[in-house]
């Protein structure tokens, strides 16, 4: 019979010792399977371009964007900052193209019952007072944990969002890996706000929204007003046609 750890320090030491005693299934060989698959996909053209080519293309875009940006730098500066999992970029001259879709949750996956979505995502965000969401979606990301999108149909409470079938869209992401990028044109487009004493950001102008999903980057054109804030490691993004005061009221009801 051994001695049970009595302090957290002893528990930590016991865990360290335990690691060398753990049994794992034998590690399978993977090198040849992975490299053969990559070569086959390259030969078949079944996958996106190899990273260097993708990077080169992106670099070329970046060079062009930089040239344009340099001209604009005399007027304004480009900058970026983040709230939890959402990065906000200020880039003069970047406007949402009319050809980009609005944020339609079903572009990111299939709806699942809300409780099931919470279970699948592995966390449970708070919801605004009032009716339950009409639909919920799990967004798998390559880097961060899964995110959630909840959507409400238009109603007297939630007027329609331009170009969508929805009245309110609430997104929730865990952690601080910036899997969501919003791009606005000017610092003046981003307004400070406060939700229950927590610093928040209010963006009442059309802008771009990019989400890094497991299947690649998706870009949307946002036409609604957006409020972003973070509570207990969960970043919330609320999109509505309502004004700032009403959006803040909804956010405050998210306990």
């Amino acid at each position: 019979m051994g001695e049970r750890p009595r302090t957290t320090e002893q528990v930590a030491r016991a865990l360290t010792m335990l690691s060398s005693e753990l049994t794992y299934p034998p590690t399978p060989s993977m090198r040849s399977a992975v490299t053969a698959r990559l070569e086959n996909e390259r030969a078949a053209g079944a996958r996106p371009a190899f990273p260097r080519r993708a990077l080169w293309s992106r670099r070329r875009v970046l060079v062009l964007a930089t040239i344009g940006l340099l001209a604009a730098l005399a007027l304004a500066a480009a900058a970026r900052f983040a709230i939890g999992a959402i990065e906000i970029r200020v880039q003069p001259g970047v406007t949402p193209s009319a050809s980009l879709p609005p944020v339609e949750p079903d572009a990111l996956g299939d709806p699942v019952p809300t409780r099931e979505a919470f279970a699948l995502a592995g966390f449970e965000p708070s919801l605004p007072a009032g009716p339950a969401p009409d639909e919920a979606y799990v967004v798998d990301t390559v880097f961060g944990d899964p995110g959630l999108l909840m959507a409400w149909r238009p109603s007297a409470t939630y007027p329609p969002l331009p170009g969508t079938d929805w009245g309110l869209v609430l997104a929730a992401f865990q952690g601080d890996e910036e899997t969501v990028v919003k791009t606005v044109q000017a610092f003046e487009d981003v307004h400070e706000a406060s939700v229950n004493g927590t610093s928040a950001t209010w963006i009442p102008v059309p802008h771009l929204l990019q989400i890094e999903t497991e299947l690649g980057s998706r870009t949307f054109s946002v036409r609604g007003n957006v409020l972003i804030w973070e509570v207990d490691g969960i970043t919330y993004r609320l999109e509505t046609s309502l004004d700032r005061a009403s959006a803040l009221e909804i956010a405050r009801s998210i306990a």
Binding site: P5, T8, M17, M30, R31, F50, A54, F143
Partner: protein, 191 residues
């Protein structure tokens, strides 16, 4: 020849750069270096050998296509483990019966294995089983942080990167988890 320069193994960052240039064999070297920790990470999440193997392989493929997002100066191991973790979490949803955490018995040790430290020896079989049971009863966020930090022996910084959480969150979760483990061991010891 992608894995050595003048007899020295190439650094991860150099292999990643070669792989980004399309050198699949250089990437194979990275896979070889990290397949064990990737498989174990996936297994600790899925508790299924088959799912863990699939998750680790799929994660290595996804990581290859995401190499242009691997930043210079970043460590490859936690970067790829984050992708492994996500892949494993997605697959865990469909896993049926889960394999259990087990420890080797003294008679299972091979002749080349290190003898257990006095502290490990002091933690008898019953206590080790109690500790494993207590780990299983932790909430998932706490179990993962304990698993990464102590069972996979990642540093706090690597754990934070691999779990996509802040270093401060790693510290606070670990502190809470260790407290819970201590309390559970106390209760089970009293019984």
């Amino acid at each position: 020849m992608t894995d050595r320069v003048e007899g020295r193994p190439l650094e991860d960052v150099e292999l990643a750069r070669l792989a980004r240039d399309g050198d699949v064999q250089a990437y194979g070297e990275l896979v070889e270096r990290y397949r064990e920790v990737a498989f174990r990470t996936a297994w600790l999440i899925t508790r299924s050998s088959a799912e863990a193997e699939d998750a680790a392989q799929e994660a290595f493929v996804k990581a290859f296509y995401a190499l242009d997002r691997f930043r210079a100066g970043e460590a490859f191991r936690p970067w790829v483990l984050r992708i492994v973790s996500n892949e494993a979490k997605n697959r865990r949803r469909s896993v049926g019966r889960r394999e259990r955490l087990t420890v080797r018995l003294a008679r299972d040790r091979g002749p080349g294995d290190a003898a257990p430290s006095p502290e490990a020896a002091a933690l008898g079989r019953e206590e080790r089983e109690a500790l494993l049971g207590a780990i299983e009863r932790l909430s998932e966020p706490e179990r993962l942080v304990v698993t990464y930090r102590y069972l996979l022996e990642l540093s706090e910084a690597e754990t934070a990167r691999a779990l996509a959480i802040r270093p401060g969150t790693v510290k606070s979760r670990l502190s809470r988890a260790l407290g819970r483990l201590r309390d559970q061991l106390e209760v089970s010891g009293d019984g």
